[in-house]
C-alpha cells in the first residue's frame, strides 16, 4: 500500500520470514473484507478477519469455478491458483466425487499406519544431515535441502506411488507451475506435468499397486466421466500440494524454534509433550503465499455489510485470519500454550485440505526427531539473511542454514 486512495495490490511486503505484512492488519482495522488488486492486476476482495474467513470457507455460495470464466479476475500468471477451475454447473458434484475417492487414502487410520514409515524416512534424512555436517565440520548444513524438501517428497511419493528417483524432474515442474508471473512457461510445465502423471497412470493400469494413483485408475474404470485429463490434473495437484506446503512448514517451524533459544530449549527438553501444540502454533503462524486461497462468488452475497457480486474473486487470507487479534490473544506471539488453537491453516468447510492429517503426522514426527538428534542446533545466519520467496504460490524460504 502506498497511499490510502490507491487500491492496494498483492502480495504485500513483510519484514522477515516469520512476520506477516503489516498491511493485513491495517486493512482489517478498516473492514473484514477489502478491495485489492491481485498480483495479476485484477480486482478482488481480500478477507483478512478470522470470522469472515471462516464464514466464507464454509459458505456454499463460493466456489473455485466461475459462471463466465473468460471474464473472471485472474490472480496470477502461474498455472495453479491463477484463475477459475472446474465447471460451474458440476463443481459441487465433482468435488464430492474427488473427496470420496481420496478420503480413505488420507484418513487418520491410514496416517497412523504410515507413521512408522515416516519415522524411518525422517531418520534417513537426519542421517544425511549428520553426514553433511561431519564431512565439512564448521560449515552450515542446509536443512531445506536435506530435510524440509526431501522428507515430504519421500512421503508423498510413497502415498501416491510416484518414483522418488523422478524427484528432480517433478521438482522442476512443481517450481515452474507455481511461479506467479510464469505465464507461458508455467502453462508448458503444467502440460508436461500432466503428461508425466498420465504416464504413471498408464503404468498403474497395467500393474496396480497399493497407492493413490492406482486408486484413481480403479475409480476411472468404473466412471468414464473421470477423464484422463482430470486424473492427470489431480495427480499433479496432489504431488505439488503434498510437498511444497509441508516443506514450507518444516523450514518455518525450525525458524520459529531456533530464533529464540529459550523456546528451542523448552521444546528440546520435552519434544513428545510439546509437539502437538507446537505444531499447531507453527501452522497458525506460518505466512505463506501472500495471496490467500481463491474463491469466486456463485451468487450475490453480503458479508459483514459488504456486497460481493456474482463472479467476483475473493481471496481468503488464512495468514491474516490466523493473526486476527479478535480470535487470538497476542496474535503475533509464538505461544504453543494457547488452547484451544483453532486456526485456518488448512482452510475449513467442504474444501478443507485433504492432506491435513498427512501434514500433521509428518510435522509431529519430524520436530521431535530433529531436536532429539540435534538438541543444540542453531541458525547459522541471522533471520534477515533468510530470503523469503515472494514470487511463488506456496511461498516459503529458499534455505535454512543450521549448525550444532
Amino acid at each position: 500500500m502506498t497511499t490510502t486512495e490507491e487500491t492496494p495490490r498483492l502480495p504485500f511486503a513483510r519484514a522477515d520470514a516469520l512476520a506477516i505484512a503489516p498491511d493485513y492488519e491495517a486493512l482489517r482495522r478498516q473492514a473484514p473484507v477489502s478491495r485489492v488488486l491481485t498480483p495479476a492486476g485484477d480486482p478482488a476482495w481480500l478477507v483478512t478477519s478470522f470470522e469472515e474467513a471462516k464464514e466464507i470457507f464454509r459458505d456454499k455460495r463460493f466456489g473455485r469455478s466461475h459462471p463466465a470464466p473468460e471474464q473472471a479476475s485472474r490472480i496470477s500468471h502461474a498455472a495453479i491458483q491463477d484463475g477459475p477451475s472446474g465447471d460451474f454447473d458440476t463443481e459441487e458434484q465433482e468435488h464430492k466425487r474427488m473427496r470420496r475417492m481420496l478420503a480413505p487414502a488420507f484418513s487418520a487410520p491410514r496416517m497412523r499406519a504410515l507413521g512408522d514409515r515416516i519415522e524411518e524416512l525422517t531418520t534417513r534424512c537426519l542421517d544425511d544431515m549428520r553426514a553433511a555436517h561431519d564431512a565439512h565440520p564448521g560449515e552450515p548444513v542446509n536443512l531445506t535441502e536435506l530435510l524440509a524438501f526431501p522428507l515430504p517428497v519421500l512421503v508423498i511419493c510413497e502415498l501416491l506411488g510416484v518414483p522418488f528417483d523422478d524427484r528432480e524432474h517433478f521438482r522442476n515442474l512443481s517450481e515452474r507451475i507455481a511461479v506467479m508471473d510464469g505465464g507461458a512457461d508455467a502453462q508448458a510445465a503444467m502440460t508436461e506435468f500432466k503428461d508425466y502423471m498420465t504416464g504413471l497412470a498408464d503404468a498403474k493400469r497395467a500393474n496396480p499397486q497399493a497407492d493413490v494413483i492406482s486408486d484413481m485408475v480403479a475409480v476411472q474404470a468404473d466412471d468414464p466421466t473421470f477423464t484422463d485429463d482430470d486424473l492427470a490434473r489431480m495427480g499433479a495437484g496432489l504431488l505439488f500440494a503434498g510437498h511444497e506446503t509441508t516443506s514450507t512448514r518444516i523450514a518455518m517451524g525450525v525458524l520459529f524454534l531456533l530464533t529464540d533459544t529459550a523456546r528451542r530449549d523448552r521444546f528440546a527438553a520435552d519434544p513428545e509433550g510439546e509437539v502437538n501444540q507446537t505444531v499447531e502454533e507453527i501452522l497458525r503462524m506460518t505466512a505463506t503465499s501472500g495471496t490467500g486461497l481463491l474463491r469466486y462468488a456463485h451468487e450475490d452475497v453480503e458479508v459483514a455489510g459488504t456486497r460481493i457480486m456474482r463472479g467476483d474473486a475473493v481471496l481468503i487470507s488464512s495468514d491474516a485470519a490466523n493473526r486476527d487479534a479478535a480470535a487470538f490473544a497476542d496474535p503475533d506471539e509464538f505461544d504453543p500454550g494457547r488452547t484451544p488453537n483453532v486456526h485456518l491453516a488448512f482452510g475449513t468447510g467442504a474444501h478443507v485440505c485433504i492432506g491435513a492429517n498427512l501434514a500433521r503426522t509428518e510435522l509431529r514426527t519430524v520436530f521431535p526427531a530433529l531436536f532429539r538428534a540435534f538438541p543444540q542446533m542453531r541458525l547459522a545466519v541471522g533471520l534477515d539473511d533468510i530470503a523469503v520467496r515472494v514470487n511463488r504460490v506456496a511461498g516459503g524460504v529458499d534455505r535454512v542454514p543450521v549448525t550444532w
Binding site: F57, R58, R99, R100, A103, P104, F106, S107, A108, P109, M111, R112, T339, P340, N341, V342, F346, G347, T348, G349, A350, V352, I354, A356, N357, R360, T361
Partner: protein, 65 residues
C-alpha cells in the same frame, strides 16, 4: 460431557481422529466420523473440545452433562 456427531455433515477430514483418537475414528470406506465413546476419556476432554471447534463441517457437538 456428551458428544454427538452428524455423519451427514461430515466431510471426512479426519481432523478429530488425529486430535482425539480414543474418542473418534473414521469409517474405512468413506472416511466419515465414527464415535468411539459418548463421552471423551478424561485425558481427551480438551482434545475433544478442540475437535468440536476445528471440525471443518461443524459436525461435532459437545454438551456439558
Amino acid at each position: 460431557m456428551k458428544i454427538s456427531v452428524d455423519t451427514g455433515k461430515c466431510v471426512s477430514s479426519g481432523q478429530c481422529v488425529l486430535l482425539a483418537p480414543e474418542t473418534f475414528d473414521q469409517n474405512e470406506d468413506d472416511g466419515t466420523v465414527v464415535l468411539l465413546a459418548d463421552e471423551p476419556p478424561a485425558g481427551e476432554r480438551d482434545a475433544a473440545r478442540q475437535a468440536e471447534l476445528t471440525c471443518p463441517a461443524a459436525a461435532i457437538r459437545l454438551a456439558e452433562a
